[in-house]
Amino acid sequence: MIFQFAKTIGIVGVSAIWMLAGCASASRQNDQQLVSLDQSLDPLRDRFDTGFGRRRFVGIFAPS
């Protein structure tokens, strides 16, 4: 009985840690996706020119 309880707690704990790690990872991934242009247009220009030889699409939107 005690063993079963400990096993359940362990599974729940591992699952919680797994979920938290997943959320943190998703958050980091999302943070990496958004590049600030506050200092200059260079990051966008560089990304645009990196795609030379391929077609490109640019969309400008307000986020709210």
């Binding site: 506050d38 990304r47 077609r55 490109r56 699409f57 969309g59 400008i60 307000a62 709210s64």
Partner: protein, 168 residues
Amino acid sequence: MNCIRGARAVQESIIEGFPEADIDVLIVWTHILKGDAGDAAARKSSRIFDDPRVSQFHDGRRRVARAFAGYVNMPSMSKMIDEVGLKPGQVNSVFSPGFVKDDAAAFDLLMFFEADARWADDIPEPSTWMTQLDPDMFIGIDRHRFHWGPALVAELRREMTKRFPNNP
């Protein structure tokens, strides 16, 4: 809200509609409305996209929006509200700080560039573009470039099909 519809149209028509197309999609989130302040709204809306072909940028100072305004003949907000007989104070609360008095800034703008386009010094010229901005309100915008809702999705698909005719 309307801008989000435009971004979703890109996701539906270009990303999901052409999963194998060799195209770089650059999404710029710029500050137009009051709710755009900070980067929380941009971060939230950036979740619309989850594809390696998409790169996303946060244009909190409207650098990109101003840079492309000339190509689409975008009127400044001060000119717009003047034409409809409003005062800046009547619309300030709706827009991002400084937007009403700022130079013209383009948004709800969707542009295609061909493979040989470069942005070495000057802003590149799109091979074609379209907008969600109603030309009845945004005086100066080419009426034929205006597409809204399902019509925007269809127009994006049409442009993609011209460029990627063998899409499965």
